[in-house]
Symmetry: C2
Subunit: 148 residues, 2 copies
DNA sequence: TTACATGTAATAATATAAGTTACAACTATC
DNA sequence: GATAGTTGTAACTTATATTATTACATGTAA
């Protein structure tokens, strides 16, 4: 099981918008970098737009960042692309037997524990900005040049 | 997206083994409490057995805990039932375009960030033992009695 | 030998993800 | 205003994973 790659693609898109700031970032252009279909990009872009992270308009080619990169965290992207619902990272079997002590209490006992673990993960995502991601992309790019 | 309920069921099973310590916990008995099919229980039980958490033997009815409850954490169960592979909680789009600066570096940049978030979640699970779960189950049971 | 349990393979039903096609709605420009 | 090119979106396909279920081999105790 893995969380949908929409999240990774969302990060890819925002990074690309920054690095291609001079040019026009159409869905086709972005799809070429991500290596997927332009429609997939437009769907994800729509989510990023709803979350106020990018500006896109029908008929007009190219998307732009709606906020400073230092004010967009991975958690913002994660929430924007809707990959995991609140308190639902961990699936729980429904309708356990109410005639059993464990069955009638397990959900209430497990729920908070699962929420806490999910929040710990999300907090970690909230500590990283897209600005840092872009800086690291450029750093890795330069490292590779030196290696050649 | 949700992590397979095998994890929740695994916790349910271990708790039930403790609370039903006096009786015989056959796969049918457990399935009745979880509200699922006995085969599902046997499959999960097999994973718990491989991880050294329970003792079960072919032909002999009933399973038993293989360790003290205070020495089994939620993380142990999570790993036992194999719901998330190492470093694979977050899906990443494969083969992004190597001709693009972002495309050829995004995986190496994102990877460690995703791993860190996953580890934060897993660390949280490692802080809770099944013993605590059982205590909370009993506590909630008594609270409900008072409410009646 | 019988009754009953676990182990496991095979299958079906369901849900979600990701890719794709098709087309409506919109904008700029000629 | 007609055209070319873009975004927005619905519909469909394919692939994969989960969960439930059936069937049966294997193992144990009485």
């Amino acid at each position: 099981m893995s969380i949908s790659s929409r999240f990774a693609v969302g990060i890819h898109i925002l990074s690309l918008l920054e690095i291609n700031k001079g040019g026009v970032s159409s869905s086709e252009y972005i799809a070429n970098s991500v290596n997927t279909n332009p429609v997939v990009i437009r769907k994800i872009m729509g989510m990023l737009k709803n979350a106020g992270l990018v500006n896109v308009r029908p008929g007009i080619a190219g998307a732009e960042l709606a906020r400073d990169l230092s004010e967009i965290t991975l958690l913002d992207v994660y929430k924007a692309v809707n990959v995991v619902q609140e308190k639902e990272l961990f699936g729980v079997h429904d309708s356990p037997n109410p005639a059993c002590l464990v069955g009638r209490n397990i959900q209430n006992t497990i729920g908070p524990l699962f929420s806490e673990a999910q929040l710990a993960m999300e907090k970690s995502l909230g500590n990283v900005t897209i600005e840092e991601v872009v800086k690291d992309l450029l750093k890795k790019e330069n490292q590779n040049k030196v290696d050649d």
